[in-house]
């Protein structure tokens, strides 16, 4: 029982990070119908920037701020400069552009910081808490990871559901032409959508950095797991992305703990295939509205 609780706790922590990456992918997919294969590269690059701050003696929090701010900028620039010009062309063009951006970022990071992975400090201790004499697989840092992701999700929910800007963002994503007829500057909304998505991705990068280390290829698996989580939840649903991330995190934790840690990637594939067979649109895909 303790083992199950521990595996679940570890799964939730992992899952929170997957959820953040999945959310970054979903936000962009909803707004521009592009699967952003550069997401892994973008969060790698912003985490490197944060690492530079820490390495030069800056505080953890300053580094986190740098990562988030640079995420906003990279996301906005990527949309404006790279994705906008291929908008309206075949969907594959945008996908290839994001793949190109990924390769570019990875190469640039290698040139600037080298290929050897660097360690990254956690915000709080990673020594497990104990409850009633039992050591739990849950550290203060894990709590911070969960809390940080939850906070960002809550902030995004408020932005999208409660504010006029959020309403414009959603309208631009659902029906760009109709949104323009209501005076929404759709181009700006798409840029902002990419910026927000990249910010969420950057958060995931900094949170996972202590366990995967910081290197040009260290975050590749994050894109795979994030994408799997997004598909499990339904690519169109932000809530689904979060649920998909947590489900995947727990599932992989059980596979790793009860069977073998070598099978984790296989477990992700199995989870993906199962969901796609049972619910092809993902667990949380919105019922498509009748269009008259």
């Amino acid at each position: 029982m303790v083992r199950f609780v521990n595996l679940t706790l570890a799964g939730i922590t992992q899952g929170a990070v997957f959820a953040a990456v999945a959310l970054a992918l979903v936000l962009i997919w909803r707004a521009t119908r592009v699967v952003n294969f550069a997401q892994g590269g973008m969060l790698m690059f912003t985490t490197f920037l944060a690492w530079t701050v820490v390495h030069d003696g800056g505080s953890y929090w300053l580094a986190l701020g740098v990562a988030l701010a640079s995420g906003l900028v990279i996301g906005a620039v990527a949309e404006r400069v790279l994705v906008r010009p291929v908008e309206g062309g075949p969907p594959l063009n945008a996908v290839i552009v994001t793949l190109g951006l990924y390769v570019l970022l990875q190469a640039a990071a290698g040139m600037i910081w080298g290929d050897t992975p660097h360690s990254y400090p956690p915000a709080f201790t990673i020594k497990g808490l104990s409850a009633g004499g039992t050591r739990l697989l849950l550290s203060p840092f894990d709590l911070f990871v969960i809390g940080a992701v939850a906070l960002v999700m809550a902030a995004l929910t408020v932005l999208f559901v409660r504010t006029g800007l959020g309403l414009k963002l959603r309208a631009a994503a659902f029906a760009p032409e109709i949104a323009r007829l209501q005076g929404v500057r759709v181009g700006r909304m798409l840029t902002l959508g990419w910026a927000l998505a990249a910010l969420v991705g950057s958060l995931a990068g900094v949170l996972i950095a202590p366990s995967v280390f910081v290197g040009p290829s260290q975050f590749d698996a994050m894109l795979v797991f994030g994408f799997t989580a997004a598909v499990i939840g339904g690519l169109d649903s932000p809530a689904g992305a979060v649920a998909g991330g947590l489900l995947l995190g727990c599932a992989l934790s059980y596979v790793s703990g009860y069977i073998s840690s070598d099978l984790v990637t296989f477990g992700a594939l199995a989870a993906l295939i199962t969901v796609l067979m049972v619910r092809p649109n993902g667990l949380f895909a919105a019922r498509t509205g009748r269009r008259v």
């Binding site: 959603r170 323009r180 007829l181 209501q182 929404v184 759709v186 009748r290 269009r291 008259v292």
Partner: protein, 235 residues
């Protein structure tokens, strides 16, 4: 208020409008009639900026609209209700309504106008927090019209509001359009295939055929001209 001169527009090799001239007076209701494919929808899409004209002039109070993007034309007070409404089904009724007036950046005025819309279209109020996908065709048309009005436009472009609606609902919508001119001083450019309904409320009517204007008369004169009615309007 709106002046269209020598307007030519189309899609690819298709020329949907060919030298259209049209003048809409402030506070009037002008109907644009004609068969399917006559260019009615293209005319509205070109005026609202969704489609770039190939030639000709579109002026609102003397200001040229032809090169402005849609978002800016909206800000000049032109609202376009597209065919079958174009409500955003994923958003709630209230969200759709607010969206129409958000660009004015005046929260209090927006709340007031949204409330007014529930008075003007009572069936919408009980459904305010439901997804627009749950509305019937007539309710969607009301919502689309109400959404356009929350921006308090001076010129309202309405594309085939009668499409697929029961005659009684059509009559109510037409009466609302008439009242918008008479009571609020708004200007309406109404595109309709249902010529009889449109003529019953319009001040003036323009008949399009294959992208050119074949008649431009006061609505009463056109309704009395049996030759034109038979040739182009089907009644």
């Amino acid at each position: 208020m709106l002046e269209v001169a020598g307007l030519t527009a189309g899609y690819g090799a298709v020329r949907a409008l060919d030298g259209v001239d049209l003048a809409v007076e402030e506070g009037s209701l002008t109907a644009v009639l004609g068969a399917n494919g006559a260019g009615k929808t293209t005319l509205l899409r070109t005026v609202s900026g969704l489609l770039r004209p190939r030639a000709g002039r579109i002026a609102l109070d003397g200001r040229d609209l032809a090169r402005l993007p849609v978002e800016e034309i909206v800000r000049l007070g032109v609202a376009h209700v597209p065919q079958s409404g174009g409500v955003i089904t994923e958003l709630t009724v209230e969200e759709n309504l607010r969206l129409g007036g958000l660009y004015r950046r005046d929260r209090r005025a927006l709340a007031r106008r949204v409330a007014q819309m529930y008075e003007l279209f009572p069936p919408l109020e009980p459904r305010r927090s439901r997804a627009a996908a749950t509305l019937s065709g007539g309710e969607r048309q009301m919502l689309a019209l109400a959404r356009a009005l929350t921006g308090a436009p001076r010129l309202l472009l309405v594309d085939e509001p009668s499409l697929g609606l029961a005659p009684r609902v059509v009559a109510r919508l037409m009466a609302v359009l008439r009242r918008l001119c008479d009571e609020d001083g708004r200007t309406v450019l109404l595109v309709e295939q249902n010529a009889r309904s449109a003529l019953s409320v319009a001040d003036r009517a323009v008949v399009l055929d294959l992208g050119t204007v074949v008649a431009d008369e006061p609505a009463g004169v056109l309704a009395a001209d049996s030759r034109l009615r038979h040739a182009y309007l089907g009644f």
